[in-house]
């Protein structure tokens, strides 16, 4: 394995799976994943309608915690997503799905989101990771998961017919986080008035939970009448105003800068090199937010091929470990529970800004020790396989001589496997 192949597998992928064939040209391998359709085939693809039906039933029957239909859906669907990550032949594409899922965080810390979290990925994120950012943004903002998570489903224009009749009113949560976290970011210098206006624009973007096939529904009766101004731009009334405002925000220069910075931080280094950020920013600007073009540009950045700059998050770490040991599908451990123990419960970020993306955020003493603890338990699955060979297959030239030596000297295959999985180079990507 050459150095560039080794780096492609960890920087842009999820680590090599067992002795999977090595790509003859690592750059072409990555670019092909952008061009070709997503190979993910879930047995029972999750949909928002299915999740909302479960939520509706739970609200009617009020089952004890842990026995709800929502929880059951979450369990099977999250396991399916993780199994897909372990086995996918297009790991770069999967990493892009993870990146954008985290960018548009919907957290199951709000229990009502559990039934629609996987549907959110399949319906709003996955179809768009190599397409237009603006289309992804619109799909996200209309998705029941986001409308529930950030409370827009119940936001009502105070001067709308519904507001006048019921005395309900605005909830500015989604509007604020959309501007701050999803699009322009505070770089754009917006005001409280902009946030309030945008919240008015989004009134009526709601969910119909009673329909035969429940899902997004625009409720004109709840929409704040009139045109509204956000960032000095006037938007028309009704649903078209929200669509126009999102298109405006998606293609705002501050959005391009913000997305470029996050992408470079994720795929290059904790402190994004300014030149790399400018390159990606220019691609987003020139292509009007083509995420496929931006992803390809990331692959072509020289800076993205410097090894060792990024610490794996628990999710990246656990999936890479399972891939390295090439566990057969029926022996893949319950990763959802493990991730909670490692401090990154699946789709369970504490706040709408999602999981952090710097080593300092994941290298607390207790956090690193837990990886060691988990790895030493998981290493028990090594059986009688040759750990030196697995280490070479997995890391190639990234494997340091001292790690190889420690593996050789370990008193048992299990200890040797623990040392591989806890070595500094395996914890990087």
């Amino acid at each position: 394995m050459d150095a560039r192949t080794a780096q492609a597998l960890v920087r842009f992928g999820l680590g090599r799976r067992g002795g999977d064939p090595l790509p003859p040209d690592p750059t072409a391998w990555l670019l092909d994943q952008i061009r070709q359709p997503d190979p993910t085939r879930l047995d029972d693809p999750p949909t928002a309608a299915q999740g909302l039906l479960a939520l509706r039933e739970d609200r009617a029957t009020k089952p004890p915690p842990g026995e709800s239909r929502s929880r059951a859906l979450f369990k099977t669907q999250s396991a399916a997503q993780l199994a897909n990550a372990v086995t996918t032949p297009a790991p770069f594409r999967e990493r892009l799905v993870w990146f954008w899922t985290n960018h548009f965080t919907v957290s199951v810390k709000r229990g009502q989101c559990a039934a629609v979290a996987a549907a959110f990925i399949e319906e709003a994120i996955r179809p768009h990771v190599t397409a237009r950012f603006g289309d992804m943004l619109l799909a996200v903002m209309r998705h029941p998961a986001m409308l529930l998570y950030l409370d827009n489903a119940t936001s009502v224009g105070p001067d709308s017919p519904a507001g006048q009749k019921t005395h309900r009113g605005l909830n500015e949560n989604l509007a604020r986080e959309c501007m701050e976290l999803h699009t322009v970011s505070p770089l754009a210098g917006y005001s409280q008035t902009d946030v309030t206006s945008f919240a008015k624009i989004l009134t009526g973007w709601s969910i119909d939970l009673k329909a035969d096939s429940p899902g997004f529904r625009y409720r004109p009766f709840a929409h704040e009448p009139g045109g509204h101004i956000v960032l000095q731009h006037q938007f028309p009334p009704d649903e078209a105003g929200g669509v126009a405002a999102l298109a405006f925000l998606a293609n705002h220069p501050a959005t391009h800068r913000f997305l470029a910075t996050k992408l470079v931080r994720h795929f290059v280094a904790d402190d994004p090199p300014p030149a790399a950020v400018r390159t990606i920013e220019a691609v987003l600007r020139d292509t009007k937010g083509d995420l496929g073009a931006a992803s390809a540009a990331l692959v072509k950045l020289d800076a993205a091929w410097l090894p060792g700059t990024k610490l794996r998050t628990p999710m990246e770490y656990v999936v890479a470990s399972v891939r390295a040991l090439n566990s057969p599908p029926d022996q893949i451990p319950n990763l959802t529970g493990i991730l909670a123990g490692l401090g990154q419960p699946l789709w369970g970020a504490p706040a709408p800004n999602g999981w952090p993306d710097r080593a300092a955020d994941w290298s607390g003493p207790e956090a690193v020790l837990r990886r060691v603890d988990w790895a030493s338990g998981f290493a028990g699955r090594i059986g009688n396989r040759d750990v030196v060979e697995i280490a070479g297959d997995t890391l190639g030239p990234l494997l340091r001589p001292e790690t190889q030596e420690a593996i050789r000297r370990a008193g048992s295959r299990r200890d040797a496997t623990t040392l591989l999985l806890t070595s500094p180079e395996f914890q990087r990507r």
């Binding site: 309900r168 909830n171 500015e172 701050e180 290298s363 207790e366 956090a367 603890d373 040392l419």
Partner: protein, 399 residues
């Protein structure tokens, strides 16, 4: 001076870590520490509605702003705990009410940090940095660095972060231990030692593994494993663990904890009960675990900003400004609410929206650091850059 042997010394020696600490050997000497005072900071992430936790029920404008989410008045079933005719503590805060009655709870109302952003994430960064911009270190870490250097180092360092990660508040140059209850079975000490050796020269994982092993060795020496509460990840259990470690003669003196669940944009009256109860139970557990050391303890409970004075359209509140800070502990001159109440009437709200801030949170923190830890103005102005014009509030700590 006396000699002491604990589990940690065996463990550090076995792991070969002793050479990298100043403990040096299987026995260590503990001299008189520079401070026997304990300081705990609890961050409420997500913006606590101060007017829900400490309700200004005597303000005539309150009912009009948020009548639909107000708890019953004092004296009624499940009503507020009265604090003297104007303020009332949320019904879920019965433990804190007891501390108020025994003069161990001081409430600072209409407080806010010195920035006016309504972004959780910027505001939390600034709150923890102790500045109006994000720094790479937190003010509590700089406090540790400003304390007189101990003649003999504590095995754990002076400060401890409870939870899986170290908050920005405690990141920085001063060495900080980190502890959380662990859920995975643990390998033999020999394997830990081999993993530590393999990572020794790594700038990220090396120090983390060393610190983690030290903290675990220490916690095992002061806590009985079979007494762990059932939900060991919940805040009250974490607070109790903090108390046990701070209580130990050779334990840390400064600790940071955090608890979320405060971002109540919808159905606030219902959604606040859980987090408030957790906070209340946690402070009660902390006090119990500290035992006699409670009299030497001050706890600062703070949040990044308050919430809108008016209830929003979905029976919740949106991001606001002024809120409460709580100062709790046996060392605190409590039993009162300290506030310049700005009023909630027409023209009195900040930007016609939020509780107007009348107290700078930095003056509260500075007042605690001065009164409790004896830090002077030069040190305090370094800990909170750009705060020279903000004096520390006096009278927070019992003389």
């Amino acid at each position: 001076m006396y000699l002491q042997t604990t589990a940690i010394t065996r463990r550090t020696a076995l792991l070969g870590l002793a050479a990298t600490t100043t403990v040096g050997g299987t026995k260590f000497a503990l001299a008189a520490a520079p401070t026997e005072k304990r300081l705990v900071v609890i961050i409420l992430r997500g913006a606590l509605d101060g007017m829900a936790a400490v309700v200004p029920y005597g303000d005539p404008a309150l009912a009009n702003l948020r009548g639909e989410i107000l708890p019953p008045a004092p004296g009624q079933p499940n009503g507020l705990h009265d604090l003297g005719g104007f303020y009332g503590l949320h019904p879920a805060l019965s433990g804190l009410h007891g501390m108020y009655q025994s003069n161990e709870l001081l409430i600072i109302h209409a407080a806010a940090a010195n920035y006016r952003v309504r972004s959780h994430f910027e505001a939390q960064d600034y709150l923890e940095s102790g500045a109006d911009h994000r720094m790479t270190s937190g003010w509590l870490n700089r406090t540790v660095a400003a304390l007189p250097r101990p003649t003999t180092k504590r095995p754990e360092g002076e400060a401890l972060a409870l939870g899986v990660s170290v908050p920005l508040l405690l990141r920085g140059p001063a060495e900080v231990a980190n502890w959380a209850p662990h859920g995975f079975s643990q390998p033999a000490p020999e394997l830990y030692a081999a993993v530590a050796a393999l990572n020794r020269h790594d700038p990220v994982t090396g120090p983390a593994i060393e610190e983690g092993l030290r903290a675990r060795g220490f916690s095992a020496s002061v806590m009985a494993a079979d007494e762990r509460p059932k939900d060991k990840y919940a805040f009250p259990a974490l607070a109790r663990s903090a108390g046990e470690m701070l209580h130990a003669p050779d334990g840390p003196r400064i600790a940071a904890l955090e608890i979320g669940g405060w971002d109540t944009h919808t159905a606030q009256a219902n959604r606040l009960n859980g987090p408030l109860k957790q906070l209340d139970d946690g402070l009660v557990a902390l006090k119990a675990a500290l035992g006699p050391a409670w009299t030497k303890t001050a706890v600062l409970v703070m949040t990044e900003f308050g919430r809108t004075a008016r209830v929003n359209g979905t029976k919740g509140t949106d991001h606001g400004t002024g809120t409460v800070a709580l100062v709790v502990g046996g060392a605190v001159a409590g039993g009162r609410v300290k506030a310049t109440w700005p009023g909630l009437g027409t023209g009195q709200l900040f930007e016609n929206r939020d509780l107007a801030p009348t107290t700078d949170l930095r003056s509260v923190a500075k007042g605690i650091l001065a009164g409790h830890l004896g830090l002077g103005a030069p040190a305090l102005n370094q800990i909170f850059p750009g705060s020279d014009s903000v004096g520390g509030m006096s009278g927070l700590i019992r003389a």
